[in-house]
Subunit: 341 residues, 2 copies
DNA sequence: CACAAAACTTTACCCCTGTAAAATTTGTTT
DNA sequence: AAACAAATTTTACAGGGGTAAAGTTTTGTG
C-alpha cells in the first residue's frame, strides 16, 4: 500500500505502465490480455488496491452485471430459501444479485421494479405479488428487462418456472385418501395464481377419487399466514366447523398456524392411534420439520426451480438461447411423510 | 406517450423547452425551480416518461441516495423482520435501500461489502457476521462509508444499536427462577458477541440469585439453529443429560428445535401441571407464537432498533449530528410470557 | 530468420449528468 | 416605471471508463 492513492484507471495506467484501454479489457475479462500483462496488472493492483468505478462502467456498457431478484415477501421461508439459492448461482456466474422485497404491497413492488429498471440489470428473476400486482407495471418492466417469472405465474416475462401444483396437490390428496379420511381444503383468499391452482387441483383430484370436495376458505388476506391459520383454525375448531378430521392446507405456513390452534384446543394432531386430526401442508418450508408433530407436506423442488430459472435467464442474456414462446417449466413436488398426517 | 423516445435529459430539454441544467435542478429537488417551470416539466414528463440515468447521476454526485443493508442471514426471522422495518424507513426518507445477505459466510460478507462500497452508498447499516467476520474488511469498509452497526457489536462503525442482553437475559432468568426450577443455559458455539454476552448475563444473574450456573454448550456451528436444537436436544434428552428441567435457550430458533426434540421424545413442555420441561427462548421471532406450546421468550425491541439505527445514520448523512465517540444504544427486552415456561 | 497473427499502445470520441460562471430573462418591490 | 433579486439559459468543463481505429510491438509458426 505504498505511494499515492489510485482512484482512476488513468492513474493505474501511469503507475503500472499499462495503457488504459488494456486495463479496461483486463477488468472486463482478465483472460483477454496476455499473461505477462496480466501479471504486471496484478502486481500494480496488489500495491495500489484500485477498484473500477461501477457507475462509470455501467454508464457505457449496454448490459450491466446486475441481476435483479424481486420477491413478494423476503421474510417468507419459501422465498428466503429460494432467494438464497438464486443469489449463490448468480454470484458464482460473476453477476451481482440485488434482492428486492415487495413486503406484500403493490406500491413497493412497483417501487422495486422502477428502482431495478433504472439500474439497467442484465436480467431479472421475479416472483410477482400475483393478485396484488399492478399488471401494467410488471408488464412494462418485462418489456425492458429480460425477465424470468418464478413461483407465481402471471402472464409476463420470457418464461415461467415453478411447481406443478396439479401434480403435487394430487399426490397429497391421493396419499391422504389412501391413509384415512378424505381431506378438506383449508385456504385464505388467494393471493396469487398458485392458490387458485391448488384449490382447483384439490377439487379435481377429490372428484376423480369419487369424493365430495370440501373447501374452507377463510375471508382474510395478507401475508400473516400463520396468524390466519391460528385464528381461523381456532374459530373453526371451537365452532365444530371442520368438515373432515383431515385438513390439507394451502401452504405450510397456514398449516403451522392450524397446528398451533389444534394444540391450544387440546386436539392431538397426527397420523396413528390416539391422534384425532390430520394436518398436511404444501411447500416443505425449512422449518416444517420442526413443528409438533413434524409436518407432512409436499416439497417444492427449490433447487431445481432456482437452478432452472437462473439457467434460462443466463441463456437469454448470452443470447445463445431464447426460450420459444414463453415456456412454463414445472417441477414435480415430492411427498414428505412426517407425523402430522 | 406520443412522439419520439426521450432517453436523455438533453432530449427532454428539447421537447420541453426547458434547459438541461434547470432540468437537472428539478430532478435533484423539484421545489428548487419556479412553479411555472415545474408545471411545464411535469407535462413533458407525463408525455414522454423519461427517467434520469442513475449511473450518470451517481458518477458526479458526491453522495448517492443509496443505503446499504448487510445482514448475516436474510432467512433468519429476526433479520427478515428488522430489514423490513429498516427498508420501509429508508424508502420513506427518499433513499434506496439495498439488502445484502452474507448467508453466514465470510466470503459472501466481504463480497457484499465490496459490492456495496463500489456503489458509493450514502451510508450503511450492517449486522456483521461476528466471529466469522473478516475484521479488517469490515473495518476498511466503515472507514469509507458512514456505517451504523446493529445487532452484533463488533467494534467498528460510528455507532452500535442493539439489545441490552444483560437486561433481557437477567429478566428471563429472574422470571424462571421465581416460577420454578432455575434454568440451565442451552447454546451453540457462539457466532457473535451477542451469544457471549447472553451466556455471561446468564451466569451473572444465576450467581446473583445464589444459584449455580449450568451451561450446555453443544459443539456445533452454522446457522441451522433449529436443526442444532433438535439434534442436540434429542441427544441430551435421550442421554438424560439435561441438568435442569428448565432450559433457557440462547435464542428462539434453538428453542424451536428443542421443543421439537421434546415432543418427539414424548415430553410435555410447558408451565403448569402435567408439564415436565420448561423451555424459554430469546428474541421473540415472529413465529415463536406458533410453536406448541407457544414460546415464552424475551422480545427484542425490533422497531426501536430499526428506527434508531436509521435515525442515527440519517443524522450522520445530513451532517447535522455526529454521534460522539461511538455510542452504544441499547434497548431493553420485554418478557413475553406464553405457555412454554 | 521471416512473417503473419495476436496483443498492445495511442489517439480520439462517446456515454449522460452535475455544476460553475456569466449572461439574460422573469418577477417583485418601492 | 425603475430597480433589484430570483430564476433561467447559455456555455463550458468535469467525471471515469467503454470502445473504435490506426499504428506499434510481441508472440508464435513455418
Amino acid at each position: 500500500m505504498a505511494g499515492r492513492k489510485v482512484n482512476t484507471m488513468e492513474e493505474l495506467a501511469e503507475v503500472s505502465g499499462i495503457s488504459r484501454p488494456t486495463l479496461s479489457k483486463y477488468f472486463n475479462d482478465p483472460d483477454s490480455v496476455r499473461e505477462s500483462t496480466r501479471a504486471k496488472i496484478k502486481i500494480a493492483l496488489a500495491k495500489y488496491d484500485y477498484r473500477p468505478n461501477i457507475f462509470a462502467i455501467n454508464q457505457n456498457r449496454k448490459l450491466t452485471k446486475t441481476i435483479g431478484i424481486v420477491v413478494p415477501y423476503s421474510a417468507d421461508p419459501f422465498f428466503a430459501e429460494i432467494v438464497r439459492m438464486i443469489e449463490r448461482r448468480c454470484i458464482d456466474a460473476g453477476f451481482w444479485p440485488l434482492v428486492f422485497s415487495s413486503h406484500g404491497q403493490q406500491e413497493l413492488e412497483n417501487n422495486a421494479l422502477a428502482t431495478l429498471q433504472s439500474l439497467r440489470p442484465a436480467g431479472a428473476l421475479i416472483a410477482p405479488l400475483g393478485r396484488n400486482s399492478d399488471f401494467e407495471s410488471v408488464q412494462s418492466f418485462t418489456q425492458e428487462v429480460p425477465t424470468i417469472v418464478f413461483d407465481s405465474n402471471v402472464n409476463v416475462g420470457e418464461a415461467f418456472v415453478g411447481s406443478d401444483n396439479f401434480q403435487s396437490i394430487g399426490l397429497m390428496v391421493n396419499y391422504l385418501c389412501r391413509t384415512g379420511e378424505p381431506p378438506c381444503f383449508f385456504e385464505m383468499e388467494p393471493v396469487n395464481p398458485n392458490a387458485n391452482k391448488r384449490r382447483d387441483a384439490y377439487v379435481k383430484t377429490m372428484q376423480s377419487l369419487g369424493h365430495e370436495p370440501m373447501i374452507l376458505q377463510v375471508a382474510r388476506s395478507g401475508w400473516d399466514f400463520e396468524s390466519i391459520g391460528l385464528i381461523e383454525g381456532n374459530r373453526l375448531i371451537k365452532e365444530g366447523k371442520l368438515p373432515s378430521q383431515t385438513v390439507l392446507c394451502s401452504n405450510d405456513r397456514l398449516a403451522v398456524g392450524l397446528i398451533a390452534a389444534a394444540y391450544q384446543n387440546g386436539i392431538k394432531v397426527g397420523y396413528g392411534e390416539g391422534r384425532t386430526l390430520r394436518i398436511a401442508g404444501h411447500d416443505d418450508h425449512p422449518q416444517s420439520q420442526f413443528t409438533c408433530p413434524p409436518l407432512t407436506t409436499v416439497a417444492q423442488d427449490y433447487s431445481s426451480i432456482a437452478e432452472h430459472s437462473v439457467e434460462l435467464l443466463f441463456g437469454m442474456i448470452n443470447g445463445d438461447s431464447k426460450p420459444a414462446d414463453r415456456p412454463d417449466v414445472l417441477f414435480e413436488g415430492k411427498l414428505i411423510m412426517r407425523e402430522s398426517a
